[in-house]
């Protein structure tokens, strides 16, 4: 599958065409609403996916409960990523809001939501991020909040930029915000990424495309919502998150 580019040496990284061919090979396969763990187009997955099938198991007591978070864990200021430093960060100010629901559509109330993201230039503050784009002294790209009684969450932040990575030659990640979520049961734990509508990089990205069911991967794309946009301040994106199952076995 991997071919050297014309004039390149045999050890050259795969091209986008190589990776896109690998993506096309598996595209459209139904996959339980989850990414394929064994996904050759995402090269780092090669040695990091289990070869055995997941073992089906009935959850035990501890797995039917989830850790509890409260006001002590998340300060309301943590939900505004633009207000943590001395000045305004560079970039397009946005509000990202939605609800966290269970598989029955019931709100998941009072639970922890954590996010992290690149800045407007596509740079993380992380020490291993070597992308030669500017850091922003007014933006660290980390936030958290608790969901409200209706499962709602809202963050004020900056629209992240796309950034290059080394999966293949000329590889770029679509703009995204990482989300970490808890439900009412340990089994509902979710870490995922939210994407933006109309991003031309989505079709080329092996992480996004690892969810081979098209209906499923579209659920990771936020919707532009003019009702969330506020005059003279910020544009708004809405993204609802549905955790697997109901996590209700311990409450009712």
């Amino acid at each position: 599958m991997t071919t050297a580019r014309a004039g390149g040496d045999a050890s050259a990284a795969p091209t986008q065409a190589d990776v896109s061919a690998q993506i096309a090979e598996l595209a459209g396969r139904p996959q339980r609403d989850q990414p394929r763990l064994d996904y050759p187009a995402y090269r780092s997955s090669a040695l990091r996916h289990p070869r055995s099938e997941l073992q089906q198991v009935d959850p035990e007591t501890v797995e039917r409960h989830a850790p509890v978070f409260g006001a002590v864990d998340a300060d309301p200021l943590d939900a505004d990523l633009t207000a943590r430093h001395g000045g305004e960060p560079i970039g397009e100010r946005i509000v990202v809001a939605g609800r966290v629901l269970d598989g029955d559509g019931r709100p998941v109330a009072g639970q922890l939501v954590e996010i992290w993201q690149a800045n407007a230039a596509g740079r993380y503050i992380h020490r291993r991020d070597r992308h030669p784009a500017p850091l922003d002294p007014n933006f660290s790209g980390v936030g958290r909040c608790l969901t409200g009684p209706d499962g709602s969450y809202a963050f004020t932040t900056i629209k992240p930029g796309p950034y290059p990575w080394r999966n293949h030659d000329n590889a770029w990640r679509p703009a995204h915000i990482h989300f970490s979520l808890f439900g009412r049961a340990f089994t509902q734990r979710l870490v995922t990424q939210m994407y933006f509508p109309g991003d031309p990089l989505l079709g080329l990205d092996p992480i996004y495309q690892s969810i081979t069911d098209p209906g499923a991967h579209e659920r990771l794309i936020a919707t532009y919502d003019h009702g969330l946009t506020s005059p003279e301040w910020a544009t708004g994106y809405r993204w609802d998150i549905v955790l697997s199952g109901t996590g209700r076995s311990w409450t009712e």
Binding site: R36, R48, S52, V57, R64
Partner: protein
């Protein structure tokens, strides 16, 4: 009709400034008389350490109670919340300081529930860390459903300070990972 769930995605390489937090790996302080160390390595399919993995544990207290206490992210040094989070170091090693969970029901095998995240791992994995030398292991439905070589991957070893548990993502000695039914 259930709502279709939101798919997972990899935690990626850049979670260290967001998810780990001071005291995350200390469910009890080091000096607590109940404290044990749960430690080990995260290993990939080539037997190499995984330096950019993140583990979370969730467990009952020493009396088998599933506590419902907030405050994991800002620990007060007194409240056992049952939940912790630890990133691996450059050698793929992790450590938690915690207590041995008691049985949540009389006669139930004791285990610590664990979630595994890593760059290169497209979705989280669930597993269990069973305590060794527990006569209830023989009655555990999950362990009974596994061939012996697979069963062994879920049972921690003992050392002087507590428990040793390696997380093998792939290949020889691959840890058993779980899909929960009716959850």
């Amino acid at each position: 009709m259930s709502h279709p769930s939101t798919p997972g995605q990899t935690v990626g390489p850049f979670f260290h400034d967001a998810l780990p937090f001071p005291g995350g790996e200390q469910l009890v302080p080091h000096g607590d008389p109940r404290a044990i160390r749960l430690h080990g390595r995260v290993i990939d399919g080539a037997g190499e350490p995984v330096p950019d993995a993140l583990l979370e544990i969730w467990q009952a207290d020493e009396r088998g109670r599933v506590v419902r206490e907030p405050g994991s992210l800002r620990r007060d040094g007194y409240t056992f919340t049952g939940w912790g989070r630890a990133a691996t170091d450059n050698d793929g090693r992790y450590t938690f300081t915690t207590v041995e969970p008691g049985p949540t029901e009389p006669g139930a095998a004791r285990f610590i529930a664990m979630t595994v995240f890593a760059r290169g791992l497209l979705d989280r994995l669930f597993t269990r860390v069973y305590l060794p030398d527990d006569e209830a292991l023989a009655r555990d439905p999950l362990l009974a459903a596994l061939p012996p070589a697979r069963r062994r991957t879920l049972v921690a070893a003992s050392d002087a300070a507590g428990l040793v548990f390696d997380v093998v993502l792939q290949g020889s000695g691959e840890t058993v990972y779980l899909r929960h039914a009716r959850a």
